[in-house]
């Protein structure tokens, strides 16, 4: 049965108690304002679709900032221009909700231009109502991005000059060029014929979201009699006769009968599922293995290690493997990559601590162990080594010798040894072998297990192990 009574839709509050002034019955809008007409169409559609409980309206900045006075739905009041971003956030976490983003022309097309384009381009499942009245109403009639050329506003007192202010933005046309939007139409909130079309468009735009089809955008040309200095009937005539010349009415895109609806399903996980999903359930390690530490000479204990070389030599991995192995042997460990001013000229370095006691500073400014794999690193860090410390350097690449006499120096032709094994890439592993072999700080067993944990490509395991062993053999 067709509706036989047209009355205030039940989506509106009976009394506008949130309105702070004495009048709790009327809207705050000026006589003849298009916002009220659009509100009524939206309220009616929500009622007819039976979705009132699910609706969350995003209240913009502009004259329509007080949507929450009127609509008996959920509301979020947001910053100027950000409605589509906020709408994205709430819709993504509550896909069952029906999110209506309502924006004026300054809000949507000027300050929020980026947010609307990207929300549309992501195909957010939201419904956007864009009120275009060619002016900033709330702030007192300044130019909007949709102000027509030649139109006088308080900030275009001589009329909008396209050479100074550019052209009005045609948002519906712009949005329609994107792949994702499902439905884009421009309507006019004016005479009976246009209101009938607007009513249909509003319902369709919300229906698309209810059906899970995607992004819908309705631009509504709307009268601002106060801002334009016209009486309401003249203002609506002006829309029909002047505004629609620049902003033609009609459907700019509609793929609503082609797109497949999206079904939103929520994953429910148990605590064990969660641990597994984020990789902290212990993975393949079912029981904690105990490692027998080597006996380490006092001078090699609690090393503060700096490792440096060219980017690509596996410097960071070298440090990580030592750190992981140290942890397996139940030392306190830390690893810090080159970062900040030391990271210049394509060199990489990292700081590693392996300590019997809690590590205070993870930074190694005065290393007790320096492992260097290129000449610039040796030149840069040699002088920082603590007296009595030790320097390991790759003498197949570094053609100078360290000059310090107060430190131990161990030359390891790591790259050459690696090359002989079949890949220069494992020179870093040779260095690990040399370091642990010479000092005994870590066992081969923990290093091998650390390698298994750190190196994801298992086909390198065998070669890496041989390289570590070759390094150990060289120094022992």
């Amino acid at each position: 049965m067709a509706t036989t009574i047209l009355k205030k839709p039940s989506t509106f509050y009976e009394v506008f108690t949130r309105k702070p002034d004495a009048d709790k019955i009327n809207t705050h809008y000026c006589p003849g304002c298009g916002h009220g007409k659009l509100h009524k169409l939206i309220a009616e559609a929500i009622e007819d679709l039976g979705i009132q409980d699910r609706v969350i309206i995003i209240n913009p900045v502009g004259c329509s900032v007080f949507l929450y006075y009127y609509f008996d739905t959920g509301h979020i009041q947001v910053a100027h221009g950000r409605a589509p971003a906020v709408a994205t956030g709430i819709k993504r976490v509550h896909p069952h909700s029906i999110v209506i983003s309502y924006q004026g022309d300054g809000d949507l097309a000027a300050i929020g231009g980026n947010e609307i384009l990207h929300a549309a381009n992501r195909g957010e499942h939201i419904t956007v109502f864009f009120v275009n009245n060619a002016i900033y109403g709330m702030t007192g009639g300044q130019m909007a991005p949709t102000t027509l050329p030649g139109m006088k506003t308080t900030t275009t007192p001589r009329g909008r000059d396209i050479h100074n202010e550019g052209y009005p933005l045609k948002m519906a046309e712009l949005i329609a060029t994107l792949e994702a939007p499902v439905y884009v139409e421009r309507v006019a909130l004016t005479d009976a014929k246009n209101m009938a079309k607007a009513r249909k468009a509003v319902r369709k735009a919300i229906q698309i979201q209810v059906e899970g089809k995607g992004f819908a955008f309705v631009e509504a040309l709307s009268a601002c009699p106060t801002g334009w200095g016209m009486n309401p009937p003249d203002a609506e005539r002006w829309i029909n006769e002047v505004m629609t010349k620049y902003f033609p009415l009609g459907v700019f895109k509609d793929i609503s009968d082609k797109v497949e609806p999206v079904k939103f399903e929520r994953k429910i996980l148990t605590p064990e599922d969660i641990k597994k999903a984020i990789g902290i359930d212990g993975g393949e390690i079912t029981q904690v293995k105990k490692y027998q530490r080597n006996t380490v000479a006092e001078k090699y204990k609690n090393p503060k290690i700096k490792i440096a070389g060219f980017g690509g030599q596996g410097i960071l991995l070298l440090g990580l493997v030592l750190t992981q192995a140290g942890m397996l042997e139940e030392y306190h460990v830390s690893w810090l990559p080159s970062y900040g001013p030391e990271m210049r000229g394509g060199t990489a370095n990292c700081h590693v601590n392996i300590s019997e006691t809690e590590i205070a500073s993870p930074l190694v400014s005065i290393p007790t162990v320096l492992i260097v794999m290129n000449r610039p690193s040796l030149e840069k860090f040699e002088r920082t080594v603590k007296p009595g410390g030790i320097i390991f350097y790759d003498n197949s690449l570094i053609d100078i010798e360290p000059s310090r006499k107060d430190v131990e120096v161990v030359a390891v032709p790591a790259t050459k040894i690696a090359d002989d094994l079949g890949s220069t890439k494992v020179a870093n592993m040779v260095m690990i072998g040399a370091y642990i072999g010479y000092t005994g700080i870590l066992t081969k067993e923990s290093v091998f297990d650390a390698l298994d944990m750190m190196v994801k490509r298992k086909e390198f395991n065998e070669l890496n192990r041989r390289a570590v062993e070759a390094g150990m053999k060289f120094v022992m």
């Binding site: 509706t3 003849g32 298009g34 916002h35 009524k40 009127y70 009486n231």
Partner: protein, 86 residues
């Protein structure tokens, strides 16, 4: 008691009317007029001349205020007291 309306009519809540005249402008049968009197907020409000409404509803959608206009179409079932206002 409820009755079935034999003819359409439009009810205007003068206190919710801001006198924008958009309803008068759009009415196809010209049965709305602006009152000489003011409502409590100082607006000349729209009045139904009392006869001739076809119940087409265009004034309802023309009106920006949520509850200023109610349109009762022919055949609507309403409380008797509503009829008395017609």
């Amino acid at each position: 008691m409820q009755v079935t309306l034999q003819k359409a009519f439009v009810k205007i809540d003068k206190e919710q009317c801001k006198g924008c005249t958009l309803c008068i402008e759009t009415c196809p049968v010209d049965v709305l007029k602006i009152s000489d009197r003011f409502n409590s907020r100082g607006y000349h409000y729209t009045e139904y001349v009392g006869d001739g409404c076809t119940g087409c509803g265009v004034c309802f959608y023309a009106c920006p205020e949520p509850g200023a206009i109610t349109v009762y179409k022919r055949g609507a079932i309403v409380d008797e007291e509503v009829l008395s206002e017609a």
